[in-house]
């Protein structure tokens, strides 16, 4: 997770480009959320920073969020994607619950991805439950960024 600034410096080669980046019509909005009770948000902060440096608008809501709080924030902020980070081991309950709540509210155009200490054997079950992708420790942030860029649903 080291190459977060690469794109940033490219985009700011001249003042004019800076301006264009700022006023670009369609910004991708991402909610970075930490469900569950663990108090480790370094991973979430690294992800938030990396996506910001890639030009995303990142909404960060802090620690210890319930699935209900996360979904409520995602709806009010009209995000395109939700990135979940969980190190507590409760991901098998929390992640699917978030997808379920989104569906209950009729939200079908938000992709949900996740990272953290997720054992390999849980990954396929989580994907079946509607988590689009799981990024395990050691994944470069640029992989996650490319994934979100490729998979966000088009909107006006």
């Amino acid at each position: 997770m080291t190459e977060s600034r690469g794109e940033a410096t490219q985009a700011s080669a001249t003042g004019r480009e800076v301006n264009d980046t700022m006023s670009e019509a369609r910004k991708i909005r991402l909610l970075v959320a930490k469900p569950g009770l663990d108090g480790h948000d370094r991973g979430a902060k690294v992800i938030a920073r990396a996506f910001r440096d890639a030009g995303f608008e990142v909404i960060y809501t802090g620690l210890r969020q319930t699935p209900e709080m996360i979904v409520s924030a995602a709806v009010q902020e009209d995000v395109d994607a939700i990135g979940l980070s969980c190190l507590s081991g409760a991901h098998m309950y929390l992640f699917p619950r978030i997808v379920e709540l989104l569906r209950e509210r009729g939200v079908d155009d938000v992709i949900v991805f996740a990272g953290g200490t997720i054992p390999d054997e849980d990954i396929s079950a989580l994907k079946k439950a509607g988590i689009a992708e799981i990024f395990t420790p050691g994944t470069s942030t640029s992989v996650a960024i490319d994934f979100v860029r490729t998979h966000v649903r088009p909107r006006p």
């Binding site: 794109e7 940033a8 410096t9 985009a11 700011s12 800076v18 301006n19 980046t21 700022m22 006023s23 670009e24 019509a25 369609r26 910004k27 909005r29 938030a48 920073r49 996506f51 910001r52 440096d53 890639a54 030009g55 995303f56 608008e57 990142v58 909404i59 960060y60 809501t61 802090g62 969020q65 209900e68 709080m69 409520s72 924030a73 709806v75 009010q76 902020e77 009209d78 509210r105 009729g106 939200v107 909107r155 006006p156």
Partner: protein, 312 residues
């Protein structure tokens, strides 16, 4: 229009989606704002501004709790800066507002400045109107951390709360000049810190140097937002200012000023855009600029000529 009906019915997803359309300058947004305009102008709009780290988000959170206790519905717009290098932003004001995240009477929206100067995002006024149309009774607009002259919030808010903290330096450096003039209420937050009384005294002295303001003298209130201290008094101060505006008919005056600013801004923006579109249609704009650069033509006559061609 379906989205209009859904917003009138306070559908959270419709409200949120319209805000995005507004931010992205989508044509559907203008159409919806036209329809909704007639039912706006009901909400009471409070601006919260001040330097970075002064506790604006925590104050906004606590004020929301206070207003909710009084039965009012609340809309919050929290603005954070866009990075000038990447165009990205981290919007983290919600961290301090978690207690309201499941309250259907509170709608929180984070906005990035997207390069707009002045302490707000360009679309903030329109997003206020969306919340207003959706029936939020009090709308709190939290600016980015501001320095000395980012005072655009005064164009949006009925009541402006300027927040400072003890120990920012002699004569309360960070809120001199512009910011001082826009305050309807001063808050010295983190008032449990050393130097709070000195900061209050400095503000009083500064106000003494700036006489001639109407019959409203901005109160200076001490708060410790993290502990909820002084929040009830701040809410009372806001209501007192609102009563003052109503008594003096100043709310209408402010609304008229706001309408003027909005109208002129739109006119300027669209007028300029259309003129430029017309002028650049057949390459004449670049030719004219080239001639000005070569001193074959002066820019003053060039502008007059362009406007004359447009029948102005």
């Amino acid at each position: 229009m379906e989205i209009i009906e859904r917003i009138r019915q306070r559908d959270v997803r419709a409200i949120a989606r319209l805000m995005s359309l507004v931010e992205n300058n989508a044509p559907e947004a203008t159409a919806a704002l036209k329809e909704l305009y007639a039912i706006t102008g009901q909400a009471f709009i409070v601006g919260i501004t001040g330097p970075p780290g002064s506790g604006k988000s925590t104050l906004t959170d606590q004020l929301t709790k206070e207003f909710r206790g009084g039965g009012k519905t609340v809309g919050i717009i929290a603005v954070d800066p866009t990075s000038p290098f990447t165009g990205g932003a981290i919007l983290a004001d919600r961290i301090r507002m978690q207690q309201h995240s499941l309250d259907a009477g509170v709608f929180i929206r984070s906005m990035a400045t997207r390069g707009h100067l002045g302490g707000l995002a360009k679309a903030t006024g329109d997003v206020v109107n969306v919340l207003d149309a959706a029936g939020k009774e009090v709308i709190l607009v939290e600016t980015v951390g501001v320095g000395q002259d980012e005072v655009e919030v005064v164009k949006t808010a009925d009541t402006c709360v300027v927040v400072t903290v003890p120990g920012l330096g002699d004569d309360v450096q960070a809120i001199k000049a512009g910011i001082l003039e826009i305050a309807d209420i001063f808050v010295v937050n983190k008032a449990d810190r050393e130097g709070a009384d000195k900061t209050v005294a400095e503000l009083q002295a500064m106000m003494g140097l700036a006489p001639g303001r109407s019959d409203w003298s901005p109160p200076i209130l001490k708060t410790v937002a993290t502990q909820g201290q002084g929040i009830a008094e701040l809410a009372q101060g806001i209501f007192a200012h609102r009563a003052h505006l109503d008594r003096q008919g100043l709310r209408q005056t402010r609304q008229r000023e706001r309408s003027r600013a909005l109208f002129l801004e739109l006119l300027q923006e669209q007028g300029t855009r259309r003129l430029l579109e017309r002028a650049s249609a057949n390459g004449t704009l670049e030719q004219t600029i080239e001639r000005i650069a070569r001193r074959e033509m002066d820019p003053y006559s060039a502008v007059e000529e362009l406007l004359a061609k447009a029948g102005l």
